[in-house]
Subunit: 71 residues, 2 copies
């Protein structure tokens, strides 16, 4: 099984959003997430980073105007 | 291990881009991918869909103007 957990990067911290994410898909300028158990979320933001080996999806809200970061 | 394979959706087909992707990250309006073996690519496009259980990252080039699809 390779589902991942989704977090929202906010104020320098990763806040938990959803576990066991099996699908991530842009929909109408938002991000649609679906979990193994069928939970669904529409997140108003963008992907910041996905670390597949850590099973981590890190998202960021659009209001913070993420442009790819300074790194 | 949970690395995934990346494909580019083009003309209704999925064309192979990179295997064993361990990191996906937007950088300067492109998508940076890194593989388990250290291969790196900067792809001028967006995420179309990520199916974690299938280990599939499906990308789409920007020129096709992906708006979230009709589905």
């Amino acid at each position: 099984m390779c589902e991942s957990n989704a977090y929202v990067y906010r104020d320098g911290k990763e806040e938990f959003l959803m576990d066991n994410v099996i699908l991530l898909e842009p929909r109408n300028n938002k991000l649609y997430l679906r979990s193994l158990l069928g939970e669904e979320k529409l997140f108003n933001g963008v992907v910041k980073e996905i670390k597949f080996m850590d099973h981590k999806i890190i998202l960021q809200e659009k209001s913070e105007e993420f442009m790819g970061g300074p790194y």
